[in-house]
């Protein structure tokens, strides 16, 4: 048994697997080219226009950046605290609800009861459209909401650490992982208790919100553009922090070797605190941006998104911040372009298929072995 299994794995790791993947990938590319040329060679999917393909790619980049941004925190807590944090998805929900509460408060103050605004609720016949939360009509509210999402989620992540993870600091990764599932449930149902369980619209739709990029045939939504700018800005800030600041260097040092960091005199708890603030804050910001993209909010959306975030982080090489970003983009693009061949109900399956294939060919992930650097 054992020998059969390992020989299969060996074969998959070696050239035959690579050849097979290259062959299938080539087939898909040829088929894609044919589809774009208006031919229908393949058995699945019809011809597509270049515009549709372009917008598939663009949508993939947008969702990929949001997933990548969310993955940074997950990867950081993995490399610095050595556990897979299952409450990370619910930190996205935390950021989304609290951030949008603040955005609504600013956008709709005076017209609608504060209580409804803060709980991101339609009240007394007023709808999300009445509040008019949109980057073009209420840019200040949207941006302050993003900052609030970062700050409040960082505080929640820090509180969870003090309550659950700090007392377990010396325990093994599995124990803390289980504790994090408990923390996830607590956060999720606290959100449901405060904000309710119904899915609701958040952003207003403006007719003028599409900015067309004629040469590319792309129609880009103003919210998508906001997301891309915000996500890239946060990623750049993260890169600068990791590479140029003492704190960032200490984070990379702790990710490399915790025991050595300790005897070198790096104050571990302070680095851990910073890790939660940054990782939690980025999770909150990405949850907020995800809602800006989708236009709707529901108490468990972060939890449902967590699997994709994990896929991105593992694909990129768990522990690497840059891997999380790259993995997010790959997952996002596969997620949206796979609809060229398969129904969109299956696009998560396509994302995971790519992740598993990747792990068979390169088990350490795209950026494997490069911890947080």
């Amino acid at each position: 048994m054992g020998t059969t299994e390992s020989s299969i794995v060996d074969a998959a790791r070696g050239r035959p697997g690579l050849l097979l993947v290259a062959f299938l990938g080539g087939l898909l590319l040829v088929d894609l080219a044919a589809k774009l040329a208006g031919l229908s060679l393949g058995p699945i999917g019809g011809a597509i226009s270049a515009d549709r393909f372009g917008s598939n790619l663009w949508n993939g980049v947008v969702i990929g950046l949001v997933i990548g941004l969310a993955g940074i925190g997950l990867s950081m807590t993995y490399s610095i605290l050595s556990f897979a944090n299952f409450s990370h998805g619910d930190l996205l929900s935390t950021g989304a609800f609290t951030g949008w509460g603040v955005a609504f408060l600013i956008a709709g103050f005076g017209d609608i009861p504060v209580r409804s605004l803060l709980t991101v609720r339609d009240a007394g016949g007023a709808t999300a459209g009445d509040i008019g939360a949109h980057i073009l009509s209420t840019p200040v509210a949207i941006l302050v909401g993003l900052l609030a999402a970062f700050a409040i989620t960082a505080a929640v992540a820090l509180a969870l650490d003090r309550a659950f993870y700090k007392p377990m600091r010396d325990r093994d990764g599995i124990s803390i992982l289980i504790a994090s599932i408990g923390a996830a449930l607590i956060v999720r149902y606290a959100i449901q208790f405060v904000y309710g369980s119904d899915r609701r619209g958040v952003t207003a739709s403006l007719d003028a919100s599409n900015l067309a990029f004629a040469p590319l045939g792309l129609s880009v939504n103003a919210h998508e553009l906001t997301i891309v700018v915000a996500a890239l800005g946060l990623m750049l800030a993260m890169h600068f922090m990791l590479q140029r600041t003492k704190l960032g260097t200490a984070m990379r040092a702790m990710a490399d070797n915790k025991d050595l960091a300790l005897v070198t005199g790096i104050p571990a708890e302070r680095v851990v605190t910073a890790t939660w603030i940054i990782g939690g804050g980025l999770a909150g910001a990405s949850g907020y941006l995800y809602v800006l993209l989708r236009g709707t909010i529901q108490f468990d959306f972060g939890w449902l998104l967590l699997l994709l975030i994990f896929a991105a982080v593992i694909l990129g090489g768990i522990g690497s911040v840059y891997g999380a970003i790259a993995g997010g983009l790959v997952i996002g693009i596969v997620f949206t372009t796979s609809t060229i061949w398969i129904p969109s109900d299956f696009n998560e399956a396509a994302a995971f298929a790519v992740m598993i294939t990747m792990l068979l060919l390169r088990p350490e992930g795209l950026f494997g072995g490069v911890s947080t650097a």
């Binding site: 003492k246 260097t249 200490a250 990379r252 040092a253 990710a255 490399d256 070797n257 025991d259 050595l260 960091a261 300790l262 005897v263 070198t264 005199g265 790096i266 104050p267 072995g369 490069v370 911890s371 947080t372 650097a373």
Partner: protein
């Protein structure tokens, strides 16, 4: 890359608080020599080498009746050890004697049970490693003693983390001491050779110009032709006024170089004397230095 991977595996192994060096299983088969010499076994004190383990004068590091171990497992019992200002002291002994444990206990990395750990006249027992570094002790652990993903310069900077700003003059001094590190300052430490890594590790521990440097097996894993080189460097560090407490497998060379040596057996003091006296002592030679 493969070196990195090997390191990663080492690191996981290192998570186990009980080092191979100090593990109880190693304890059982540790003294093949002792079996051949009933004198050592029955605890009769061989005459020549010293059995006074303390110094008459002032010591910067003072251990008295120290008991320590890992969890419930006691490794050290009643250890007495002194290091005088500027002195070069080595600890030798068979595997499992608790040599590294002494060092880790000074740094607060083991389970303290009883006794005195004093540095420059004050108890340092219970202090966090970052406070102990502040007191003036630097520590170079045995394996995995560089941050592989950080550049050489970043590794050195981390050694001065507790300072508000990066001490550029100290970095220059370390580059002067180890010129190859200046050439490689932007290179990731994980890509360096074993000898160069050891220099990075020592440089990092010297960043705060400590009064006492703890070195755990500095020659471990080095190619034979680099070992003498490494000992020369340690001599020079000591010559510039830093006291050194070193654990070494390479006992003969260590005793030849040091001012005083401690021979530890089963977590207890056995012999203490000047290095060359221990080297010349017949019992010490027979029992621990392979004749």
């Amino acid at each position: 890359m493969s070196a990195d991977e090997a390191e990663a595996t080492d690191e996981t192994a290192g998570d186990d608080p009980v080092d191979a060096d100090d593990s109880p299983s190693a304890e059982g088969d540790e003294t093949p020599a002792a079996d051949e010499t009933p004198a050592a076994d029955t605890g009769e004190t061989p005459a020549a080498a010293g059995t006074t383990h303390t110094l008459d004068g002032d010591a910067i590091l003072r251990l008295r009746d120290l008991d320590a171990g890992y969890g419930d497992l006691q490794i050290l019992s009643d250890i007495d050890l002194d290091v005088a200002d500027g002195e070069y002291v080595t600890i030798v002994g068979p595997n499992g004697a608790g040599k590294s444990t002494v060092m880790k206990t000074v740094f607060g990395l083991t389970t303290y049970m009883d006794g005195v750990v004093e540095f420059e006249g004050e108890s340092i027992h219970g202090l966090a490693p970052e406070q102990i570094i502040r007191e003036g002790i630097g520590f170079v652990p045995q394996n995995d003693n560089v941050f592989p993903g950080l550049s050489v310069r970043e590794n050195l900077e981390m050694g001065a983390y507790i300072l508000d700003s990066v001490p550029e003059d100290q970095i220059e001094e370390i580059y002067d001491r180890f010129p190859i590190l200046r050439e490689r300052k932007e290179q990731k430490a994980g890509t360096l050779s074993g000898g160069q890594r050891q220099m990075v590790a020592m440089g990092r521990a010297l960043m705060l110009d400590p009064d006492l440097l703890l070195l755990d097996e500095p020659s471990a894993g080095l190619a034979p032709d680099l070992v003498a080189d490494m000992f020369d460097r340690i001599d020079r560090i000591n010559d510039s006024g830093t006291a050194v407490l070193m654990v070494e497998q390479n006992a003969k060379e260590a005793l030849r170089r040091c001012d005083r040596g401690y021979v530890l057996v089963n977590g207890e003091n056995r012999y203490t004397d000047r290095g060359e006296v221990l080297l010349g002592d017949e019992d010490v030679r027979k029992d621990f230095l392979g004749g």
